[in-house]
């Protein structure tokens, strides 16, 4: 969706909070989150936005519901065709 060159590479399309995102194979869900309008993965206890921090499965800031499974870390999850990602942001 961003760069025309990607059309030639092998890509997958997933939905993040209802929005379609097309990314190259091998992209992590956390990286794909940056292709939506915001880089927000959750809201803190006061409703302020948070985004991915460590990228390595340590900080748990990027947890989301992926294909119905809650509390999955986006940074350790590769994007797949027809995947559904819902954040609590």
């Amino acid at each position: 969706m961003r760069e025309p060159a990607l059309k030639n590479a092998s890509v997958v399309t997933l939905r993040i909070n209802g929005r379609e995102v097309t990314v190259p194979v091998g992209t992590s869900v956390a990286a794909a989150l940056a292709m939506t309008d915001s880089f927000v993965s959750r809201a803190d206890l006061s409703g302020r936005p948070r985004g991915p921090l460590c990228g390595m499965g340590v900080c748990f800031e990027c947890r989301a519901t992926i294909d119905g499974v809650p509390e999955v870390l986006m940074c350790l999850t590769p994007c797949r065709e027809d995947q559904t990602v819902v954040t609590d942001a």
């Binding site: 990286a31 921090l53 748990f60």
Partner: protein
């Protein structure tokens, strides 16, 4: 469900891969567990897909030919009895019964709180680097990096090569310490060359020693950063900030198994055996030392686990990489100013939203947890606990199972594991 193996290796970074290769090549049945979808750990992240690093390519190829079994997406959550691990894998779980274990859980970044560090767009230095490797669009984005040591340059090189605009590299170490460290590298020609190559690519990027980020600013996400650069303030508009101060070992699984630790590293003998029989530790768990240390200690532990002789050259390499690790630790030690950046309102625990002010009167991590909920959230204190240890000089606490958030069903020990089966060989 259960798995039985001669050797379980926890972590598939360079240390775990080297141990697994050596042991599997000597005929052991080896099972390798890693939370990531591919082998390579953090330092070789993405190399299994698009290899540009020759050393990584060599080890990953050797690993796939070694006969070792690899379970991606597998997270160790508990160790209910000696020789047994409980592992969660996606929506299912299994138990592993092992003869020996090599722990190669690597390291994470040390985060220190500063005003605005919870804004989206503020990440770790290597955190931002791995997201870029994983496909985060960085072309044309403005990036500031603040941290310490060789990781800063490595992250800058990755971001630069993906088309990101690195506006500034702030190295917290003093000029004397930094250049003293660089001069010591003549003992490590490969590292000197690596550093020189990375610096050459980044020659146009403003870089300063005695420099660090004092605040991140923005409404819904990062918009600008304030830096302290040799005593004067800089204000830069940017899209991403990578800010973290060196690495700390991931000690949770080692502590869960009862391994003794001292000064933030696992205690081992000259055969890399921990104080727990048949459990070895390698790589960053011994103190931050990078890829070379991970490979050398991994090979050593793999040979010892398989009861093979250890070549003298390998022992010598280990002593050489230890020297580098000691120098790195002195260089990367966070300076005093970094410990005073957080204001009373700045959150220390990001999971439970615990501000600095809530810790007044707390004397240790246990009190901070009981009175202020520090470290009670999803990451179990991996981020704030490490920060609090650096900020206040507190010592780490014992790890209790589960050492990661887990489903209740994953903690049930399958009945066929609790007996004492031995592998039919």
């Amino acid at each position: 469900m259960r798995e039985v193996c001669d050797l379980v290796v926890v972590g598939a970074g360079p240390g775990g891969l080297a141990a697994a290769c050596r042991a599997a090549e000597a005929g052991l049945d080896v099972l390798v567990l890693d939370a990531q979808p591919e082998p390579g750990g953090q330092v070789w992240r993405g190399e299994a897909r698009q290899g540009s690093n020759r050393l990584a390519r060599r080890w990953l190829t050797r690993f796939s030919a070694s006969g070792a079994r690899f379970r991606p997406g597998a997270r160790v959550i508990a160790a209910p009895e000696p020789g047994v691990l409980l592992v969660e894998e996606g929506p299912s779980s299994f138990a592993v019964r092992y003869g020996r274990a090599v722990l190669a859980t690597g390291a994470r970044e040390r985060f220190l709180p500063f005003p605005g560090w919870t804004l989206p767009g503020v990440l770790g230095v290597s955190g931002l680097q791995v997201l870029v490797k994983d496909g985060l669009p960085i072309r044309g984005k403005r990036v500031v990096l603040a941290g310490t040591g060789p990781l800063l340059l490595a992250a800058a090189a990755t971001i630069h090569s993906h088309g990101g605009e690195v506006l500034y590299i702030a190295e917290q170490a003093s000029a004397a310490s930094h250049w003293g460290f660089a001069l010591q590298l003549w003992r490590q020609p490969a590292k000197l060359l690596q550093g020189a190559l990375m610096s050459a690519k980044l020659v146009s990027v403003p870089t300063s020693t005695d420099a660090w980020v004092t605040a991140a600013e923005g409404e819904r996400r990062l918009e600008a950063v304030r830096l302290s650069v040799r005593g004067r303030e800089e204000h830069l508009h940017c899209d991403y900030l990578g800010a973290a101060y060196g690495l700390v070992p991931n000690l949770e699984v080692a502590r869960l198994l009862g391994c003794e630790t001292t000064s933030g590293a696992v205690v081992v003998d000259d055969r890399l055996q921990t104080r727990v029989p048949k459990v070895h530790a390698v790589g960053e768990l011994l103190g931050i030392g990078g890829v070379d240390q991970a490979l050398v200690t991994g090979e050593l532990a793999g040979l010892v686990a398989a009861e093979q002789p250890v070549p003298l050259a390998l022992e010598r390499s280990w002593h050489r990489v230890r020297t580098f690790a000691a120098q790195l630790a002195r260089h990367d030690a966070p300076r005093a100013e970094l410990l005073r950046l957080a204001t009373p309102d700045t959150l220390l625990c990001r999971c439970e939203d615990v501000p600095m002010s809530a810790l007044e009167g707390c004397q240790n991590l246990r009190e901070a947890r009981l009175y202020a909920r520090l470290g009670m959230g999803a990451c179990q204190g991996r981020t704030c606990g490490t920060a609090a240890q650096t900020l206040f000089g507190w010592t780490g606490e014992d790890v209790r199972p589960p050492c990661l958030p887990a489903r209740i069903g994953s903690l049930r020990l399958p009945s066929d594991v609790s007996s004492t089966p031995t592998r039919e060989s």
